[in-house]
């Protein structure tokens, strides 16, 4: 019942096996302009040819360092910034040819990190949530908004007429979630949605997200730098480095054994809950290279302890590894034919 209500206007077209979103070779390069005539002097390779898919009903976690292109990817998926290249296929329909951006936006919504900046300070909570249904011609936008407020755990009687600054961070993020749900989307992109919250509030919001997902049959793309949170919520995890996908696979498989050295060092940097198990040596030295001029070959070779000549010359392909279903990594170590001296020894052990 609640499921059909949620997919109001959003009928399933491709069936359960058609991925909800297929991103193909997405590219976004930001030009850096300077000088008198605003000439393009350099290009930031924010997202450089990434491909992935999001299955219906799953939560895909996207992790990576700051500046690796996680948020740009999110904004590309929802059409807030234009694609330079590549294509997005929403439930079997290609964006731009089969469906328009406006239709995609009914099906895909987003929750932003900054709970305060993502609410108009001059609108009451109920008006903020009702904005979407209103412009889409819903008969009773504020009824929808009040219903959703109840659903995300905010009493509409108490909170509907308040302004964003009268709410706490956790409450505001609940409002943002309600706003994202107001158009009954099928996919919700959560861009660092819980990162700015206190740990206890974060846990409450995560549980709320899990409940909503079950009740409404939602699909999530969950972007975060917090690996513990990603593990808690994700079914699959995608690891990004400098605008590229380095590893993608089921959360359990990746958390059990990382195939790419970058993923491994990222996980090694995760603070342990066990004081006896603390990290002694820094897992990764230095800053990521400048995305204006990314390294040749494997982009990680400048910081990788397994790097050899081949790594700076040939770009490794994202390929299936270790027989594990749908676990892919882009590393020469995983490829027996790559010519890397330690291929399939060090990591496979």
């Amino acid at each position: 019942m609640s499921k059909t209500e949620a997919s109001f206007g959003q009928t399933d077209r491709g069936g359960p096996h058609q991925p909800l979103i297929i991103a193909k070779d997405l590219k976004k390069h930001f030009p850096i302009r300077s000088g008198l005539l605003n000439r393009k002097t350099a290009t930031v390779h924010a997202v450089d040819g990434i491909s992935f898919e999001v299955q219906k009903g799953e939560t895909l976690g996207i992790v990576g360092e700051s500046g690796c292109g996680k948020s740009t990817t999110a904004r590309l998926l929802i059409g807030l910034i234009e694609l330079d290249d590549g294509s997005i296929i929403y439930d079997g329909d290609a964006l731009g040819t089969d469906i328009k951006l406006k239709e995609l936006r009914r099906g895909v919504q987003m929750v932003f990190q900054d709970s305060y900046a993502s609410l108009n300070p001059r609108l009451t909570i109920v008006d903020s949530i009702a904005f979407g249904p209103k412009i889409h011609g819903h008969a009773d936008p504020s009824g929808v908004a009040r219903g959703l407020m109840g659903r995300v755990g905010l009493d509409p009687e108490r909170f509907a007429e308040r302004y964003p600054h009268e709410l706490s961070g956790g409450q505001r993020q609940r409002v943002n979630i309600a706003r994202a749900l107001a158009l009954s989307p099928r996919l919700v992109i959560l861009d660092e949605a819980v990162s700015a919250l206190d740990k206890s509030v974060e846990a409450q919001v995560l549980n709320l997200l899990n409940d909503l997902k079950e009740e409404l049959g939602l699909t999530y793309v969950f972007i975060s730098h917090d690996l513990n949170v990603v593990r808690y919520i994700s079914d699959r995890v995608l690891v990004m480095y400098l605008g590229e996908v380095v590893e993608v696979g089921p959360a359990d498989a990746i958390y059990a054994k990382q195939a790419h050295p970058y993923t491994a060092s990222l996980f090694a940097a995760m603070p342990s809950m066990d004081p006896d198990n603390r990290t002694e040596e820094p897992p990764l030295a230095g800053d990521p290279p400048n995305p204006i001029d990314p390294p040749t070959g494997c982009r990680f070779h400048t910081r990788c302890r397994f790097a050899e000549d081949i790594c700076s010359k040939t770009k490794p392909k994202l390929s299936v590894i270790g027989g594990s279903e749908r676990h892919l990594a882009a590393c020469h170590l995983q490829d027996t034919t790559s010519g890397h001296s330690q291929a399939l020894k060090e990591v496979a052990e």
Binding site: M110, F131, I135, G150
Partner: protein
Amino acid sequence: MTVVADTAEVAEPVRKAPGYWAGVFKRFLNDPVAVTCTIVVLLLILAAIFAPYLGLNDPYKASMIKRLKPIGFPGFPLGTDEQGRDMLARLIYGGRLTLFVGLVPVVLAFFIGSTLGLVAGYVGGWINTIIMRTVDVFFAFPSVLLAIAISSALGAGIINSLVSLTIVFIPPIARVAESATASVRALDYIDAARATGGSALTIIRVHVIGNVLGPIFVYATSLTSVCMILAAGLSFLGIGVRPPEPEWGLMLNTLRTAIYINPWIAALPGVMIFITSLCLNLLSDGLRSAMNVKD
């Protein structure tokens, strides 16, 4: 199932909230300074409008014997000017033209400049470049010079000086509007609204205007006093209001010669300009804090 029942139950008692502007009005009324200033400005405007019905002396009737009489002179509560005309009548009648030439160009420039700035700031890109670079050209001239140049090109007269003053005030207002809009444009709630599928016009109307109007409005109010002074300057040069029309700026200029003989009289038009612009500024401050929901 329970979820749906809840929704229906909660949706029932929709108590109509007072709108945003009702809240602004309520907060504004709680600010004694702003309310006092509003009353003063309203009184000045009302006095100017209803000047003929106040039983005042003829503001144009000169008298060679009663020149520059002090404040409190029998029959002339505020004394007389350098031609023996009743100061009280001239000040009240003068409010008509002064407030008119002080407010109208700013109001016009407020609408035109805000529109230009909003479009430039929201759309960005080439449109921003074209609008803002054109605006920059006007910045190259000092405002007084620009007003004089346009006025003299158009010819003397009140309408032409209104036009020239409007043109003078469009660039600074567009500037403020553009920067306010650009900073709001970068906030996540605009992205969220775009992601909802709202058209640019709807987003500007619902999400941008309310958040940028405050600073633009406050800035525009502060320009009214500048505008009154510029208009007085134009009158002085003979390309604005012409004597014997009473106008505060013009009166200030003509009474300037009497400053050693009867300084109080000479200062009166200045006092009026001062009170008006001070009240307008305090009023705009009050309005700004009333528009700020975060108090």
